[in-house]
C-alpha cells in the first residue's frame, strides 16, 4: 500500500535535480542583484515570494485541517498532499531573516507618521511580533501534523515498514495500537484543527497589515487582512489541485487510484468557489473605496489600476487570477480532466503571484518602468525550487493514504454514532 522498496526505486531524482537547479538560479539572481546595487528590486521580489510561498505552505496544512473538520468523504486522498507543503515551513522561517533584512529598504520611515502608526510600525516591534506569530503558527501546524501523521506512520511501521526512520520512531512513541491511536488522533486533530484555522486567520491578518499594508502607511482597509488570507486559501486549493494531478500521474505513494475524476471534480469546484469568494472580497474593497472616493484611500488603488506600468499587471491579475479560472471551472469536463484542471490551477497560481506583486511593488518601487524581469523570474524560480524540494522531500517519505486499520476504526466509530438516526 505505501511505498515499498520497489516503488521507492522507481521514483526518479530528475525533479529533485531540476528543483535544485532552480534554487541555485534563484540564489545567483538574488546575489547578483544585491551585488549590482539593485537593493529595492531584490528585496521586494524576495518579499513577494516570501509571502506567496509561505502562504501556500500554511494553506496546505490549513486546508487539510478544513477537510478533516468538515468530515469530507473524498478529502482523505488529498489531505496528506496538502500537509506535505508544510515541509517548506522550516525553510520559510529561515527566509524570514531575509524579510527582516529587507525591511529597512522596503518600509517607509515611521517618523513623519501619526502617533498610533509610529508605535505600531516601529521596525523592531513589527518584525519581532511577525516573527513570533509565524513561529507560533508553524508550531501549531507542527503539532497538528504530529497527530495527523502519527496513526498512519504507526500503522505502516506496525506492518513492518521503516517509515520515516528515526523520526518515525519518535513520532510513534508509546504506540497504543492502530484503533486507539486513530481515535485519539481524530479527537486531537479536531481540536487542533480549529485552533489552527483561527490562528491562521489572525496571523495572516497580521501579516497582511504589517507586511503589505504598512508599506503604504496612509492607506487602510479593514477587509485587507481577510482578503489576504482568503486569496491565500484560493491559492492553496489551486496548489492542491495541481499537486493532486502530479501525484495522480506519478502514482506517488500509491495514491493515484484514489484521485479519481470525482476527487478532481470536487477540487475543481473548491477552486471555483474560492475564486468567486476572492472576487467578492476584492469587489467589496474596491466598491467601498471607489464609492467613498476619499483621498486617503484612493491613491493606493489608483496607482495600481490607472498608472502605467502597473495597469498592465492589474489587467494580467484580473485575467489570470480571476477571469480564466472562473470561466474555465464552470465546465464539468474541465474540472474532471487532470490536465485541464492542472493547467487552470497553474494559471490561478501565476495570477495570484502577480497579485501579490501588485500589492507590494507599487508601494515600494519608486523608480521608472516595471520592475519585472529576469531578476524577478530568477528569484521566483529559486523559491519555487526550495518549495518543490521541500514538498517532494515530504511526499516521498510520508504515507499518502490513511492506513486501512485507521480507516476501519474511524468508520466503526462513525457508524455507531449515526445509529438510531434517520436524518
Amino acid at each position: 500500500m505505501s511505498s515499498g522498496p520497489e516503488t521507492r526505486k522507481r521514483t526518479t531524482l530528475g525533479p529533485e535535480l531540476l528543483l535544485g537547479l532552480a534554487a541555485v538560479v534563484g540564489l545567483a539572481a538574488f546575489g547578483t542583484a544585491l551585488g549590482l546595487g539593485w537593493k529595492v528590486r531584490a528585496w521586494q521580489v524576495f518579499h513577494v515570494n516570501f509571502l506567496f510561498w509561505t502562504g501556500l505552505a500554511f494553506a496546505g496544512v490549513v486546508l487539510s485541517a478544513v477537510l478533516r473538520l468538515t468530515d469530507s468523504r473524498w478529502g482523505f486522498a488529498v489531505r496528506r498532499l496538502g500537509e506535505c507543503s508544510a515541509a517548506f515551513l522550516p525553510v520559510s522561517l529561515v527566509l524570514y531573516l531575509g524579510v527582516v533584512a529587507g525591511h529597512g529598504t522596503l518600509a517607509p520611515d515611521v517618523q513623519p507618521l501619526a502617533h498610533a502608526k509610529q508605535i505600531w510600525l516601529a521596525p523592531a516591534f513589527l518584525l519581532m511580533r511577525d516573527g513570533a506569530a509565524l513561529l507560533l503558527l508553524a508550531a501549531l501546524a507542527g503539532w497538528y501534523l504530529y497527530f495527523s501523521l502519527r496513526p498512519d506512520v504507526g500503522a505502516a511501521r506496525e506492518g513492518g515498514e521503516r517509515t520515516l526512520g528515526a523520526f518515525g520512531a519518535w513520532l510513534t512513541r508509546d504506540w497504543r495500537g492502530a484503533a486507539a491511536e486513530a481515535k485519539r488522533s481524530r479527537k486531537a486533530t479536531a481540536f487542533l484543527g480549529v485552533g489552527l484555522v483561527v490562528a491562521y486567520a489572525l496571523v495572516f491578518t497580521l501579516l497582511a497589515l504589517d507586511q503589505i499594508m504598512a508599506f503604504d502607511p496612509t492607506w487602510m482597509s479593514t477587509l485587507f487582512g481577510a482578503y489576504f488570507f482568503i486569496t491565500n486559501l484560493y491559492g492553496g486549493w489551486a496548489m492542491l489541485a495541481f499537486v493532486a494531478v502530479l501525484a495522480r500521474r506519478g502514482n506517488l505513494g500509491g495514491v493515484g487510484a484514489a484521485l479519481d475524476g470525482d476527487v478532481l471534480h470536487s477540487l475543481g469546484k473548491l477552486v471555483f468557489s474560492f475564486c468567486f469568494l476572492s472576487l467578492d472580497f476584492f469587489f467589496s474593497q474596491f466598491l467601498v473605496i471607489w464609492y467613498g472616493n476619499l483621498p486617503e484611500e484612493t491613491p493606493f488603488v489608483l496607482r495600481r489600476i490607472r498608472q502605467m506600468p502597473w495597469q498592465t499587471v492589474a489587467l494580467a491579475v484580473l485575467v489570470f487570477c480571476f477571469v480564466v479560472p472562473f470561466v474555465a471551472l464552470l465546465f464539468k469536463s474541465i474540472k474532471r480532466d487532470a490536465r485541464t484542471l492542472a493547467a487552470v490551477g497553474l494559471v490561478a497560481l501565476a495570477g495570484l503571484w502577480l497579485e501579490r506583486f501588485l500589492l507590494v511593488a507599487p508601494s515600494t518601487w519608486h523608480g521608472a518602468g516595471l520592475p519585472l524581469g529576469p531578476l524577478e523570474l530568477g528569484v521566483t524560480l529559486g523559491f519555487l525550487g526550495l518549495f518543490g524540494l521541500s514538498w517532494r522531500f515530504a511526499v516521498r517519505r510520508v504515507p499518502l493514504l490513511p492506513a486501512a486499520a485507521v480507516t476501519e476504526a474511524l468508520e466503526t466509530e462513525t457508524r455507531e454514532a449515526e445509529e438510531g438516526t434517520h436524518g
Binding site: 501619526a114 502617533h115 479593514t222 468567486f276 467578492d280 467589496s284 464609492y291 476619499l294 436524518g423
Partner: protein, 451 residues
C-alpha cells in the same frame, strides 16, 4: 434499531398538519394580535406623520432599519442550508432545510415590510421602481437603496421558487393521501406531479441549478444590505469589511433562529429521530464559526480605527463602548462573540436547554448589533454640534410606535410560520426517504461501503 419505512416518514411529518389544538390557536391568536398592534401603529404613523417614530435628526435611521437588517439576516440561513449545504453534499441538511427555507421566505416577507414602513410617505414607494414615465425620470442605479430593491426582490423571488419546487414531490404525497377539497388544492399545488422519470430528471437538474444560483445570491444580498451603510462616509460605516462581516452575521442570526424554532418543534411534533441532537450540534458548530468571524470583525475594526488615525472613526468606536449606548454595545459583544464560544464545549452544544437559550440570546445580540452600528454612528458623526441621540421618551411622550411595529413584525413572522406548519410539510418527506434509500444502498452486502 429498525429503519423507518417510507410510509412512516410521511406519517410522522404529516402529523403536524392535523386540526389545530388549543395551544396552537392561542399562539396564533397572540401573533395575530401583535400584527394588529403593529398595523394600528403603522396606520397611526401614516396618518400623523413619521415624526411619531423615534428617529430624529441626526439619527435618521433607527429601529425600523435595524429590524429590517435583522430580518434580512435571519433570512439567509435558510438558503445557506438548502443551497450551500446541498452543493457541499452535507447529509445533515435533509430534515432541517424545509423549515429553514420557510423561515427564509417568511423573514424576507417580514423584512420587505420595512422599506414601506420607514418611508414617511408610503404612497410614494413606487418611485423606487424603474418604470418609463413621461418626465423621463429613472431611479438612481448608483444608489445602494436601489441595489437593495433589486437584491431583495430577487432574493424573495428565488427563495420562494426554490422553496416551492422543493416541495412539489411532497405536495404530491399529501394530495394522494388527502380527500375532497384538500385533494384538489394539493393537486393543483403539486402541478400534477407523479414522480415519473422525466419529471425527476428535469427536477434534479433544476434543483442543482437553483442551488448554484442561490449560493452567490445569498452572499450578494446581505453584502448589498451592508453597502447601504458602507457606501456612505459616516464614521463607523465607511469600512471595507462590512460585506463579509454582515454575511457572517446574517448566518449567525439565521442559524440561531433555526435552532430557536426547531428545538421546541421537534419535541412537540415528535420528530426527535428525524431532527437529532447531531443536527443541532452541527448548527451549533456553524454558529461557532460565524461567531468567531463576527468577533474578528469587532476587534479588527476597533484596532484599525486606532491605527488609521482618523479621529472621527476612532471616537465613534470609543463612543460605542463607553457612550450613551454602551449597554447596547456590550450586550452585542457578549451575546454575539463571547457567549457562542460556549459551544466549544460538547456538553453545551448537545444540551437542548443551552442551545435554546443561547440561540435566543444570539438573536437578541444580533438585533442590538444592527442597532449599535446604525444608531451610534449616526449619533456621533464628524461635527460635534451635530451629535444627538434618540430617546424613547421625548418631549413629554412615549414613542411607542416603533416598538409596536417591531413587535408586530415578530408577530407577523411567527404567524406565517405557524400557518406554514399547518398547511405545508415542515420536513422534506421526499429527501428523508431519499436518505433512507441511500443508506439502504450503502448497507447491502453486495454494495461497497464508500469511505
Amino acid at each position: 434499531m429498525a429503519a423507518l419505512t417510507y410510509r412512516e416518514v410521511a406519517d410522522k411529518v404529516l402529523r403536524a398538519m392535523t386540526r389545530p389544538g388549543p395551544v396552537y390557536t392561542a399562539l396564533l391568536g397572540l401573533c395575530v394580535s401583535l400584527v394588529a398592534l403593529g398595523g394600528v401603529a403603522w396606520a397611526y404613523q401614516i396618518e400623523t406623520g413619521i415624526g411619531v417614530s423615534v428617529k430624529t435628526n441626526p439619527v435618521g435611521w433607527s429601529l425600523y432599519i435595524t429590524t429590517f437588517v435583522f430580518w434580512v439576516g435571519i433570512a439567509h440561513s435558510g438558503t445557506l442550508i438548502s443551497a450551500i449545504l446541498f452543493l457541499l453534499r452535507a447529509r445533515w441538511r435533509t430534515s432541517i432545510f424545509r423549515s429553514a427555507e420557510a423561515m427564509t421566505v417568511i423573514a424576507v416577507m417580514t423584512a420587505g415590510l420595512f422599506p414601506f414602513i420607514h418611508l414617511g410617505r408610503v404612497w410614494r414607494v413606487y418611485y423606487l421602481l424603474p418604470y418609463p414615465n413621461q418626465r423621463e425620470l429613472w431611479p438612481n442605479f448608483k444608489s445602494p437603496l436601489i441595489w437593495d430593491v433589486f437584491a431583495i426582490s430577487t432574493y424573495f423571488t428565488i427563495s420562494a421558487i426554490f422553496f416551492f419546487i422543493g416541495m412539489i414531490p411532497d405536495l404530491a404525497v399529501i394530495r394522494d393521501r388527502a380527500k375532497g377539497w384538500r385533494r384538489r388544492i394539493y393537486g393543483v399545488l403539486s402541478f400534477g406531479w407523479r414522480g415519473s422519470d422525466r419529471e425527476w430528471q428535469s427536477y434534479l437538474s433544476a434543483y442543482v441549478l437553483f442551488a448554484g444560483l442561490a449560493t452567490p445570491l445569498v452572499i450578494s444580498v446581505h453584502s448589498v444590505v451592508s453597502w447601504d451603510f458602507a457606501m456612505s462616509i459616516v464614521p463607523g460605516w465607511h469600512t471595507t469589511i462590512f460585506a463579509p462581516y454582515f454575511v457572517a452575521g446574517a448566518i449567525h442570526s439565521g442559524f440561531a433562529m433555526v435552532l430557536t424554532l426547531l428545538i421546541p418543534l421537534r419535541r412537540i411534533l415528535q420528530c426527535e429521530d428525524l431532527i437529532t441532537r447531531r443536527h443541532l450540534e452541527n448548527m451549533a458548530k456553524v454558529i461557532i464559526l460565524t461567531g468567531l468571524i463576527v468577533g474578528y470583525a469587532y476587534g479588527l475594526e476597533f484596532f484599525l480605527a486606532w491605527y488609521g488615525g482618523n479621529k472621527a472613526e476612532y471616537d465613534v468606536f470609543v463612543y460605542r463602548a463607553t457612550g450613551h449606548y454602551a449597554v447596547e454595545y456590550w450586550i452585542m459583544v457578549t451575546c454575539n462573540a463571547l457567549l457562542p464560544l460556549a459551544f466549544f464545549v460538547k456538553k453545551v452544544r448537545t444540551s437542548l436547554v443551552a442551545l435554546f437559550v443561547l440561540s435566543i440570546l444570539i438573536n437578541v445580540g444580533m438585533w442590538f448589533e444592527r442597532f449599535v452600528i446604525i444608531v451610534t454612528s449616526l449619533s456621533h458623526e464628524y461635527l460635534p454640534h451635530g451629535w444627538g441621540e434618540i430617546h424613547l421618551f421625548a418631549a413629554g411622550e412615549w414613542k411607542w410606535v416603533d416598538l409596536a411595529i417591531v413587535a408586530g413584525s415578530f408577530g407577523w413572522f411567527f404567524m406565517w410560520f405557524l400557518l406554514f406548519l399547518k398547511t405545508l410539510p415542515w420536513i422534506s418527506i421526499t429527501e428523508v426517504r431519499e436518505g433512507l434509500h441511500a443508506k439502504a444502498a450503502h448497507q447491502t452486502p453486495a454494495g461497497e461501503v464508500r469511505p
